[in-house]
Point group: C2
Chain length 245, copies 2
Amino acid sequence: MRFSAETTSDGVTERLFTLGDVPGVVWAAEDAAGPRPLVLLGHGGGHHKTSPPLAARARRYVTRCGFAVAAIDAPGWGSRPVPAAYQPYNAEIERLGGPSERLGDVFARRGVVAAALAVPEWRAAIDALAALDWIGPGPVGYWGVSLGTAIGLPLVAAEPRITAAVLGLMGHETLAEDAARITVPVEFQLQWHDELIPRASGLALFDAIGSAAKTLHANPGSHSQVPAFETDSAERFFTRHLSAR
Amino acid sequence: MRFSAETTSDGVTERLFTLGDVPGVVWAAEDAAGPRPLVLLGHGGGHHKTSPPLAARARRYVTRCGFAVAAIDAPGWGSRPVPAAYQPYNAEIERLGGPSERLGDVFARRGVVAAALAVPEWRAAIDALAALDWIGPGPVGYWGVSLGTAIGLPLVAAEPRITAAVLGLMGHETLAEDAARITVPVEFQLQWHDELIPRASGLALFDAIGSAAKTLHANPGSHSQVPAFETDSAERFFTRHLSAR
């Protein structure tokens, strides 16, 4: 893990790093010392590790919850080259044009390829972050919807250090088997009029999650119209599950 | 409105009243003066206006949110006589024995009769409560699931003074038309393994609600196993919608 840049504003220090060829970022309180919970943020398609919504969420978890927060660019996003394995899917996406359930289906299938690449990258990042004396061994939470769930759901299924996750905006077709292996508390977001994910497919993915403690939050509106109060809800979810009582 | 008893504990004053032949209760801060938001609590079947879960919820809204809170006994519950119109349903319920979706269906059909009686009672209670100088004209919220939705959903549809509602644990068959007339923000609770309400029927009722701002909260477990954190969520929902910013 090589740190490349560090900036501090309003009490939050943002450190860019690379781990192998994976660019990452970690946020923590300027005066962070000693272990603290870590929340991983998985960005959506078209976003990257320091996109404004991710950076705002990170700042919030740092200042309001005392967590450390980390993100990495998914393969093919941010400054990372597009993996050759995406090409057939990207060609399909170009042919389809606008948003549709068929487009969502291609996103999901490309997501399987993205997850195969990204899950080991995330696990290596957790190793490196846990070794920092101002983070330590856990607990670890994961937040990510859409592409962040295509990658994050298999990650949560594979990674025992993650003990709570906010997921959603994806369907079950490509993820049901991994979902069944998840046992940690999950908050699952679904948009009732998602133009990319058929409602029944999103409900089936929630149903497939193996956890005894899981909550579906469904709201009206399209894929990108998750209401702002769900940001509050996710924060409380992580506080409930990651903060010492 | 005739007040019949008043007790104060831990800063919360509970006043029993009758309005016609309807027994009710209103809770407020001991030192309440001037207008404040009012939350109405609709009890579930087998409960009554001061059942422990209702009284605990009322105390919470009073002490943490500064609201006044009121409840009335539904026709046939608490100390109220069972309406003759319930008899065919109660006979069916006796024949069915244990919990089942058929039982849930009878509850829903009996709920239509209960609502026809109770909605005017609730509206009269709002009139009387709004005339108290320590409550005033609003805003008014409604919380009630199961029987509390069988009665409350038609009430919310009919009563323009109610500007936010927490509903749930009911299906759509008897309520879809009223649901379509609701336009205020709704938080809707659904139990994923409800033994009384088919999942598709609960989802259809959420779908039928006309409000632009509505959120479905679905959790694993049976009809009575709504997790405790949903109590927190409902409190935040009312704070968001009823408290002055």
